[in-house]
C-alpha cells in the first residue's frame, strides 16, 4: 500500500497532490505536458525532496516533513521506470535487468529474470549491448530492470509510450497478471485515455501542479466535471448556455443559448446534486459519441434533445468518423463508418442531432471558444 501527500515549489510552479493506492491497484496520473506528473513520481521515489509532505510505502513512512524523516531512495523499495529510459551503457541487456540483484544471483541465471525477459518479449536480446536496441526494446528493458528489484511500489512514467498497440495490449495484460500474482500498488503516468481506462483503478488528473479531478476512471474521464479535465480527456462539445428553467421533480433543468434549448440532468454522474441558480451561465458537455445522427426528425423517441443542422465537415476519426454539424453552434458527432456509408452523409446535408438529457453534464469553470 502507498499513500501520502506532497507539496513542492519550483519557482512559480507549485505541485500539490495526494494519493492512496492499495496493493494490486493502479492509480493513473493523467495530465497535460508539464503538469507535474514526473515531478510527483520523482518525489515519491525520493529523488526530489518536497517542501511539505508525508509519504508512506508498504506501511513505512519514507518521508515526513513534520517529523524530519527522509529515507533515501535506495531504501524506499520503489521501482521507477523513468520517462527516458536511461539504460546503463556499460552493461548488456540481461545485466541491466539483473543490475539490482546481489552478485551471486545475478550470474546464476535467476529465474525471476528469465521470466521477466520472456514476459517482456526480450528473448534473443539478452546479450545485446544497449545501443543495439530499438526504442521500444529499450523501454521494455527499462521496465524489466525496474521490476527485477521486486519493488513495493511501482512508478511507471509512460511505460508503453514507444510500443505498438499489439505489444502495448500484451504488456498491459502482463502487468495486470503480475499484479494479481504479487499485488503491489502502481502509480502510472499516461497520456493515453484508453490506457488510463484499461489499467486504472483510480485516476487523478493533474493540471499545472494541482489535482483537478480524482476518482474512478470512467467517471473522471467518462463524464469529466471540470473544464480542464473535459478538454483534456476530449469532451468534444462544450456549450456555454444559460439556465432558464429548473424542474426538480423530473431532475432536469433547461439551458438555452445559441438558438438551442437543452435538457440537462440536475445530478452529476457521481450522484451529487448540482444547483446552478436560475439565469446562471453554465457550460454543458456532451461527448460526440453520445450524439445520434438522423436524416429525419426521430419521432416518439425518448431522447429529449434534438437539433437540426447542416453538415460542415466529415473527418476520419478512428474507429469511425466525426461529423461536424452547424446547429447555431457547432456540434461534433461521432458515428461509425457503417453509419456514414448507410446514411450517405455529405457536406452541406441537413441532419438531425439527437441526444438524451442524461448524456449532458455540467462542466465547471470552463470558457468555451464561443465566448472568447
Amino acid at each position: 500500500m502507498s499513500l501520502g501527500w506532497i507539496r513542492f515549489r519550483r519557482g512559480e510552479f507549485v505541485l500539490a497532490t495526494d494519493w492512496h493506492i492499495e496493493p494490486g491497484q493502479v492509480s493513473v496520473l493523467f495530465g497535460p505536458s508539464g503538469a507535474g506528473k514526473t515531478t510527483t513520481l520523482r518525489a515519491i521515489a525520493g529523488l526530489e525532496k518536497p517542501h511539505d509532505g508525508h509519504v508512506e510505502i508498504g506501511g513505512r513512512v519514507v518521508f515526513d516533513s513534520g517529523r524530519r524523516i527522509f529515507i533515501p531512495p535506495h531504501l524506499r523499495r520503489v521501482g521507477y521506470l523513468t520517462q527516458q529510459t536511461y539504460l546503463f551503457p556499460h552493461l548488456d541487456v540481461v545485466s541491466n535487468i539483473a543490475y539490482s540483484l546481489p552478485r551471486n544471483r545475478r550470474w546464476a541465471g535467476d529465474e525471476h529474470i528469465a521470466k521477466l525477459v520472456s514476459d517482456l518479449r526480450l528473448e534473443g536480446l539478452e546479450n545485446r549491448r544497449i545501443w543495439e536496441l530499438s526504442g521500444g526494446e529499450r523501454q521494455r528493458v527499462g521496465l524489466a530492470r525496474a521490476l527485477a528489484a521486486r519493488p513495493e511500489l511501482l512508478l511507471l512514467d509512460e511505460p508503453f509510450a514507444s510500443l505498438d498497440s499489439e505489444l502495448r495490449r500484451a504488456l498491459r495484460r502482463e502487468l495486470r497478471s503480475m499484479l494479481d500474482e504479487t499485488p503491489i500498488p502502481v502509480m502510472l503516468v499516461t497520456h493515453d485515455r484508453e490506457e488510463a481506462l484499461a489499467l486504472g483503478d483510480e485516476v487523478q488528473v493533474l493540471d499545472s501542479g494541482r489535482a483537478t479531478a480524482k476518482g474512478v476512471p470512467l467517471n473522471v474521464l467518462g463524464q469529466p466535471g471540470q473544464g480542464e479535465v473535459a478538454r483534456l480527456v476530449g469532451v468534444e462539445n462544450l456549450l456555454r448556455l444559460t439556465v432558464t428553467a429548473r424542474y426538480p421533480p423530473d431532475g432536469t433543468m433547461v439551458c438555452e443559448g445559441h438558438g438551442l434549448r437543452l435538457e440537462v440532468p440536475l445530478r452529476d454522474n457521481s450522484g451529487e446534486r448540482q444547483m446552478p441558480g436560475a439565469r446562471e451561465v453554465v457550460t454543458v458537455g456532451v461527448r460526440s459519441s453520445d450524439i445520434i445522427l438522423a436524416t429525419r426528425e426521430p419521432e416518439a423517441s425518448s431522447a429529449r434533445n434534438r437539433f437540426q443542422g447542416q453538415v460542415v465537415s466529415v473527418e476520419l476519426r478512428p474507429p469511425g468518423y466525426e461529423v461536424t454539424l452547424d446547429c447555431g453552434v457547432e456540434l461534433r458527432c461521432h458515428i461509425t463508418a457503417r453509419a456514414l456509408a448507410e446514411m450517405n452523409i455529405v457536406s452541406g446535408q441537413a441532419l438531425w442531432a439527437v441526444f438524451k438529457a442524461s448524456s449532458c453534464f455540467l462542466v465547471s469553470d470552463y470558457k468555451s471558444n464561443c465566448d472568447k
Binding site: G46, P73, H74, Y86, F88, P89, H90, Y99, A149
Partner: protein, 289 residues
C-alpha cells in the same frame, strides 16, 4: 555474412564500410588537420625518443649497464615506490576526486581551483617545501619526532615526493570521469535499491573507468620520472632512495652512455605498462543509452 562476401560486396558497389557513419566524418579539412597534427606530435616526441634509443642501442656496454645490479635495484625501487604512490593516490585521491566532482560547497570550489598548484612548483622547490613541512626542522618535525617517525631520506620520502607531484594528475582526471557520469544513472541505480556505496562500485566507477585509468597513466608516468623533489626530500641512496631517474642522473655524472641506456630501459618498461593501461582504458561501451 562471410568475409568473402563482404569483400565481394565492396567490389560490386564501391560503398565501403556500410553501417553507422562514425563521428569522424570524411570532410577533407578535418582529415588533413588531424593527419598533420598527428604527424607533428609523433615527430616531435618520436625524434628525441628515437635519438635516445638509437644512441643507447649503439653503446656496446648497453647490456652490462642494463643488467648491472645497481640498475636493477633502482628499477625495482622505482617500480615499488611508484606503485605504492599509486595505491595511496587511488585510495585517497578517488574519494577526493568524487567529492570535487559532486560536492557543491564553496570550499570545494576553492580547492578545485588549486588542485594543480603542486605542479607549479619546480620539483626541487617542492622537495624543499616538503622538507620544511615533514622534515626534522619542519612544521610537523616535533610531532613526528615525538612519535619516532622519520620520513626524510627513507623510501617513504620517495613515495611522498611522487605523491606530491603526481596526485594532481590523477585527481583531475578522476574528477572529470566522475563528472561525466550522468546523475540520472545514479538516481536510477538508487531507485533500484542499490546503495550509494554499491552504486559507486557498480556504476560510477565503471562508467568513469576510462578517465580513471587515464589518470592512473598520467600520474604513474609522472611519478616514475620524478627526480627533483625526490632528490631534495629523499636524497640519493642506492637501494633506499635512488630511483631510476636518480640513477640516471648519477650515471650522467660519469658516463652519459650509461645514463641513456638506463633511460631507454625506463622507456621500455613504461611502454609495457602504458600500453596495458591504454588497453584497459579503451571503453568497450558507447555512451548512447
Amino acid at each position: 555474412m562471410t568475409i568473402g562476401r563482404k569483400g565481394k560486396h565492396h567490389r560490386l558497389t564501391g560503398v565501403v564500410f556500410p553501417g553507422r557513419i562514425a563521428g569522424m566524418t570524411k570532410v577533407p579539412v578535418l582529415g588533413v588537420l588531424g593527419a598533420a597534427s598527428t604527424t607533428m606530435c609523433v615527430l616531435f616526441v618520436g625524434l628525441p625518443v628515437a635519438a635516445l634509443c638509437i644512441r643507447a642501442v649503439r653503446e656496446e656496454r648497453l647490456l652490462t649497464s642494463l643488467t648491472s645490479e645497481s640498475a636493477m635495484t633502482a628499477l625495482r625501487l622505482s617500480l615499488v615506490t611508484s606503485i605504492a604512490a599509486m595505491v595511496v593516490i587511488l585510495v585517497v585521491g578517488t574519494p577526493f576526486a568524487y567529492v570535487l566532482a559532486r560536492g557543491k560547497s564553496s570550499l570545494l570550489r576553492v580547492l578545485d581551483g588549486l588542485v594543480e598548484l603542486p605542479l607549479v612548483l619546480p620539483p626541487v622547490v617542492a622537495g624543499i617545501a616538503m622538507l620544511m613541512a615533514f622534515g626534522r626542522g619542519g612544521i610537523l618535525g616535533p610531532a613526528l619526532e615525538a612519535t619516532g617517525i622519520s620520513i626524510v631520506s627513507t623510501s617513504i620520502a620517495v613515495v611522498f615526493a611522487q605523491l606530491f607531484v603526481a596526485a594532481p594528475f590523477y585527481i583531475r582526471s578522476a574528477k572529470l570521469g566522475f563528472q561525466s557520469v550522468l546523475l540520472d544513472y545514479v538516481e536510477i541505480s538508487q531507485t533500484l535499491g542499490v546503495s550509494p556505496w554499491r552504486t559507486f562500485f557498480r556504476l560510477t566507477l565503471p562508467l568513469a573507468g576510462p578517465s580513471i585509468i587515464t589518470g592512473i597513466a598520467l600520474a604513474w608516468a609522472r611519478a616514475l620520472s620524478e627526480f627533483g623533489a625526490t632528490m631534495m626530500f629523499a636524497g640519493n641512496m642506492a637501494g633506499r632512495t635512488q630511483t631510476m631517474p636518480l640513477a640516471i642522473m648519477t650515471a650522467m655524472e660519469t658516463d652519459l652512455a650509461i645514463a641513456l641506456a638506463l633511460s631507454a630501459l625506463l622507456l621500455v618498461v613504461s611502454v609495457a605498462i602504458l600500453s596495458g593501461l591504454s588497453i584497459a582504458s579503451r571503453r568497450n561501451w558507447q555512451s548512447r543509452s
